[in-house]
């Protein structure tokens, strides 16, 4: 079993068993609302995590709409990422598993809609066997399909990233993006949610300035019944 990849934010890492995201495991990320369809914030969240690993990344998509300069702004250099345009979900899943099984990659990201218990278990086993970090970006074609995110899978953690209004600047303009990052499910841990600022150019999240001096307990509210939802 490989190690853990910390977020570098004590508030978040304290909530994760091992003090970070488990490397040889499958994790799920989805967006909320419109983000369930475009998966933009989820892709940046995944890119930020992958940016902090070392080695090649495989990114499996159904149809390509990623813009590499945007990923690079989250710290993921274009030279590190190999893209597979699978055309359909089944092939994307197969490529995802192939990538996790190979063992020479630092991580594999796949954008998929439906993820059954069986296929997620296969992915989890493949990730465990090779120590490769796997992130499934859950992304659906229709808003009504997004209820699928309530179904259980074998993933170790499940995250939801949604946009929040960013902090106003003194001058006209636009500041760093702000996200609500919800840890909906976490094996051997509890769910929590965090308000963070989006990835910087090295893929690191940050606590908003106003919240940084609050205690960990206040920054990460517990959701009542959160485990049942996972």
């Amino acid at each position: 079993m490989a190690g853990f990849l910390p977020f570098g934010l004590p508030e978040m890492d304290a909530r994760l068993p091992g003090g970070g995201l488990a490397s040889g495991a499958l994790h799920e990320v989805a967006g909320a609302g419109n983000g369930a369809l475009d998966g933009a914030a989820a892709a940046l969240f995944a890119a930020g995590i992958m940016a902090r690993t070392k080695g090649q990344i495989l990114w499996c998509v159904r149809d390509q709409d990623l813009f590499a300069p945007g990923l690079e702004a989250a710290g993921l250099a274009a030279d590190r990422v190999i893209y597979v345009e699978a055309g359909d979900e089944q092939t994307a899943l197969a490529c995802f598993e192939e990538g996790l099984r190979h063992g020479g990659l630092a991580g594999v990201v796949a954008e998929i809609g439906r993820l059954s218990m069986t296929s997620s278990r296969r992915l989890q086993l493949a990730a465990e066997g090779s120590g490769t970090l796997g992130i499934a970006i859950r992304r659906w074609r229709r808003q009504s399909d997004a209820v699928d995110f309530g179904q259980p899978t074998a993933a170790v953690t499940r995250w939801r990233v949604s946009a929040l209004p960013s902090a106003p600047l003194a001058a006209p303009g636009i500041g760093r993006a702000r996200w609500l990052v919800e840890l909906i499910r976490c094996r051997a841990g509890e769910s929590a949610d965090f308000e963070v600022e989006g990835c910087d150019h090295e893929g690191r999240l940050a606590l908003p300035a106003g919240l940084a001096d609050r205690s960990a307990e206040a920054g990460a509210r517990r959701i009542a019944g959160g485990r049942a939802r996972g």
Binding site: G33, N34, G35, D38, G39, A40, A41, A42, A43, L44, F45, A47, G55, Q56, L58, D65, L66, F67, A68, P69, G70, L71, E72, A73, A77, A78, D79, V81, I82, Y83, V84, E85, A86, G87, T91, A94, C95, E98, G99, H102, G103, G104, L105, G131, V161, A163, L164, P165, S166, P168, L169, P172, G173, I174, G175, A177, R178, W179, G198, H201
Partner: protein, 440 residues
Amino acid sequence: MPELGIQDVELGADAAALKKLGLWALRLYSPLVAVDPPDGLVIDATGAAHLRGGEEAMLHDMVVRLAASGINARAAMADSWGAAHAFARATSKPVIVVPPGETATLLQRLPLAFLRLPSEMVDQLRRLGFERVSDIASQPRGPLTQRFGPELHRRLDQALGRLREPIEPIRAPELIEARWQFAEPIGAPETLARYTGKLAGALCEMLVAKGVGARRLDLLFHRVDSEMQAIRIGTAMPNRDAKRLTRLLCDKLETIDPGFGVEAMSLCATLAEPFETKQVRTSLLEETPDTDVSSLVDILANRVGGANLYRFAPVESDVPERSVGRIAPASGAVGRKWPASLPRPVRLLRKPEPIETMALLPDHPPVSFSWRGVRRRISRADGPERIFGEWWKRDAENNAVRDYFQVEDEQGERFWIFRSGDGEHPETGGQSWYLHGIFG
């Protein structure tokens, strides 16, 4: 015509040139290629076209490449050898793809001359009033066979796909090939897989002896009913690792239909290149994981097709959709980066989508916009970033201008929108607004 030069036909040289062309097609397009004398090639594209981006793209590629070397060619794809032969010669279009299942109906309208019949027979048939394929197909068979022999209906049935016509693929002596003849026909998938492994082992020994590695491998299955089935795989780098090649071949075994049994298998390195040996580094330090992903690249490329596996690299262009190029996954590190100071979204729409906006001032971002039926109020915005058309690429872009804004709506979702035109001069664009990308 005073300048008309006359040259005698050299049938032998023509046949030799055609065979050379066939070997070229074998390397590039499909494991099953045969000459169709005097002036044609026949290619079985089953399971080979996807590596070239589909049937039509493959034919176009073929015609364009041949034209570049001075050969005026026409290509047709159909359900049978006879039909493809007929369509390629009957139409004036350089490329024609007949959809599966429609061969029979389209064939009816063609003149009989395209059915590969002796020309005397076509003349006699015309004298009797038979002009087109449909004239023959609607007649009772008996009298016609009695008059013209079995050849007429044999050719008709071959063209309609009722009668099989196996392709005996051409081979060249310089190709490295391993072959296995079975005493009894085999058919079980496990047996096929076992012999695939044995052939790969034998072939790799030959590759080692010649100092080359395989870039393209064809595994042919000779069935007892004299049909052929084939698997073609490609690798990004010259390769002679039997285990890896076996893995790639076995991934495709499920596409093979052994029918009543396979009596022989042959594995051929259609394209081989010099193999560069690498020194294996050992170190006393802790073992670094194997980070060579070329084997994974080969597996995935054979699954989804080489064109669907790539890396992105920066291209010198200010126009966002042109600033990204695709390169092969195994190419070396590019090192260049996009300018980090410019905001760029993580998702870029394939085509900018028109949005309805409420704008107050020409130099400012809109106050609100509706996209895909949802109205959003803009609470924060940054811009404009002005991008000029690249007049050296297209005349229409001489004066074109786009003003990009990064905007955030009240929920915090961020979008990349632009106005085509500078807001003042009509020649710079239509002054309408588009949404081009989504930030996270």
